[in-house]
Amino acid sequence: MARITASVYTSHVPAIGAAMDLGKTQEAYWQPLFAGYDFSKQWMKDNKPDVIFLVYNDHATAFSLDLIPTFAIGTAAEYTPADEGWGPRPVPKVYGHPQLASHIAQSVIQQDFDLTIVNKMDVDHGLTVPLSLMCGQPDAWPCPVIPFAVNVVQYPVPSGQRCYNLGKAIRKAVESYDEDLNVHIWGTGGMSHQLQGPRAGLINKEFDNAFLDELIADPGSLALKPHIDYVREAGSEGIELVMWLIARGAMADANGGPKPTVKHRFYHVPASNTAVGHLILENA
């Protein structure tokens, strides 16, 4: 049977993608940030998954105001990196896993999550920047990716608790798939940042590090944090952090199993307007 063996968490700032695409990773501004992912790139090679289930949000790219799904799962064979206005990123095409994705969709809908199934969409920096950070600049991504897009642009976004419960449902779905697949689940976005208004530039290191601590040790309590706490403490765009709870809910300990092992933890300020956080958790 398929199983979720690890979860990865990382911010997905567009400027990080631009720095990689433009060859600026060794500049003084960027060097400390990319150094924090050296371990991760090696870890990806040593622990290559068969499939990545990648939780992210679309930033007014594939979804305009014409149609806003709360949760959208990609069941397509492939996805093209989007032109977000600066031209498409020069990164490999993303290949999906239609069979596992369809299976997860079926199982999760039957667990009362009202997913939208998507067979055609371009993927923006929310999905491609985490792949770049974790895999560097290969000619092809190391494995198929199932995109899972969460609405965190228009309120109300799903609650932390809803996200955490969704993660549990995804784990159950993966474990009911017959083929023997090693699946990683990634939660992306955040950490503290605000891109709008006179309060733009807000960063909250204390909040972010407490979030990381609690995500590791007590995600069930963290899931109870109301949206307003994210907005007040971590900035209006800090709400993206609820997506990390989906990945966390899919780990063994959220489902009666043992605690995960922290393989890597990293935090850096700033990348453009944003605090960058990163975690790798492995199931025991």
Partner: protein
């Protein structure tokens, strides 16, 4: 509407909720149209004429022409949509975000390098630093 909106007392912050979305629908869809290169060219050639193709309010059009992002947000714009105007102008997200703070580009960049804007004093409207 009597839905709970606990986010109205956060200073310098507009939460893009269903109501803002309704007000800003055409403004944001105009922004979305700038994801096509041909539309960017038409917009740049005659901004006013391009804007007049959209059922936006005069206030919204003027805010776009003025590149007054704070005003755009007040009128229902969302930053991820408004970013398409910035992309058309060749601006980065940092330049766009900074433009809303009243700081110069350099001041804003320096603030970020120094660790960003503190949450202290910025949690509630009227809060003392």
């Amino acid at each position: 509407m009597s839905l709970d909106k606990p986010y109205l007392d956060v200073p310098g912050t507009t939460i893009f909720d269903a109501e803002q979305s309704r007000i800003g629908y055409h403004l944001n869809q105009f922004c979305m149209s700038l994801m096509k290169a041909a539309n960017r060219e038409r917009f740049k050639a005659n901004e006013r004429a391009y804007l007049d193709e959209w059922p936006m309010s005069e206030e919204q059009k003027q805010a776009v022409l003025d590149r007054d992002l704070n005003r755009c947000i007040k009128l229902g714009g969302n930053i991820y949509f408004l970013a398409k105007i910035g992309a058309t102008d060749g601006k980065s997200f940092q330049q766009m975000a900074g433009s809303m703070t009243g700081m110069s580009e350099e001041e804003y960049r320096n603030m970020m390098v120094a660790g960003g804007r503190s949450a202290d004093g910025n949690r509630y409207i009227g809060e003392k630093k």
